[in-house]
Amino acid sequence: MVRIIRSVIVVCCLFISLQAFMLWTATGRKALTRFPTEELTQQADSGLSDLFSDTGLNDDLGEVQKLDNRFTFGLLPSPAANAEAVSLMTVAGPALLVALLAIQPIGWSKRKSHHKNDSE
């Protein structure tokens, strides 16, 4: 029974880690987590620079670059107490740690306590 529970824990933890890795990859493998903002949406919709589209303003220099306004799941946590602190490392890290603890030999903790009692 214990073995089944341990196996379930390991499988679940690996699934969590794998999904976190997939999310990080799917959102561009960025270093930090970020969320779309309303300000950036407004900047994209203003239409002011469109008035110069036929004037040759951007012929040599190209269109002005814009910041991607989308969600990215980062590799590392931002050092802040907000949603940007959630990252691949903070999700997959603890999950892998739990999986690692779950796959340790069953008798390990018992042997350790026996050894402690013997030495006393």
């Binding site: 900047q43 002011l48 620079s49 004037t55 040759g56 303003l57």
Partner: protein, 254 residues
């Protein structure tokens, strides 16, 4: 008696908590009502609205004044390509002006970009950029560019209602409180006269200024271990600017 003293203690404690909370709330409200910080000494001061600069009379008398239209399109985009990471950011809160002679010659101008308006897409990183070790927004709240001279202004394209010129801008860049002379070649200036189609978006005759250049942070004494040791932020920052200005001040735009 014992119960009474406990009651008094509890009442005193709750009063203390309430007064601390209300003091903090008051401070927070005070901070909210505080306007944008004033421009540093030696530079053109901001209008009360915070949306434009108070153009010096001696400059305004030289030609037509165009005011930057902030809070609309992206005005500045930067890229820092470091070995470890590429960081991008932008801002659309640059205020300022340009003075243009009747023959379309750009003869004066100054623009102020609030440091705390730089958006890198990550709020925590935005805050870090304003800190003392980086751009020190408290002491130097603005990145400032002041035109000293415009060289080689040549007509590049002309059409119905517009004229476009290429030019080299020579000016003074002030970042982190340090001022350096800067020459920006291959800048583009486009003038568009007011029409039914432009009126829908902005009032007045319009001027767009487009330029690409790079700055070395070390030239402006921005030296952080993240740049020199960790290589997470490049010393060379590439900047792409696109300013749209109007003869009608932002305060009078619809």
């Amino acid at each position: 008696m014992h119960f009474n003293s406990r009651l008094i203690m509890a009442a005193a404690l709750s009063l203390l908590i309430a007064s601390t909370a209300s003091a903090q709330y008051g401070n927070r409200n005070k901070k909210k009502h505080k306007g944008p910080p004033p421009a540093p000494q030696g530079f053109v001061q901001h209008a009360e609205s915070g949306k434009s600069l108070l153009v010096p009379k001696d400059q305004a008398s030289l030609g037509t004044v165009f005011h930057a239209l902030a809070d609309r399109d992206t005005q500045m985009h930067f890229v820092s390509k470091a070995p470890v990471e590429t960081i991008e950011g932008n801002s659309n809160r640059t205020i300022g002006y340009a003075v243009v002679r009747a023959d379309d010659r750009l003869i004066a101008g100054e623009w102020h970009l609030p440091v705390n308006s730089i958006d890198t897409g990550n709020k925590t990183r935005n805050k870090h950029l304003t800190k003392r070790e980086w751009l020190n927004a408290k002491k130097n709240p603005y990145i400032i560019f002041k035109i000293l001279e415009v060289k080689d202004q040549k007509l590049a394209k002309e059409g119905e209602g517009f004229k476009t010129y290429s030019a080299t801008l020579v000016g003074e860049f002030t970042i982190h409180g340090v001022t350096n002379k800067k020459t920006i070649p291959n800048a583009t200036l486009s003038f568009r006269t007011q029409s039914a189609s432009t009126e829908k978006v902005a009032q007045g005759d319009l001027l767009a200024i487009r330029a690409k250049y790079s700055v070395l942070l070390s030239d402006y004494k921005v030296e952080h271990p993240v740049i020199s040791k960790k290589k997470k932020f490049a010393n060379e920052v590439k900047i792409d600017t696109s300013l749209v200005l109007s003869t009608v001040a932002p305060e009078k735009q619809g």
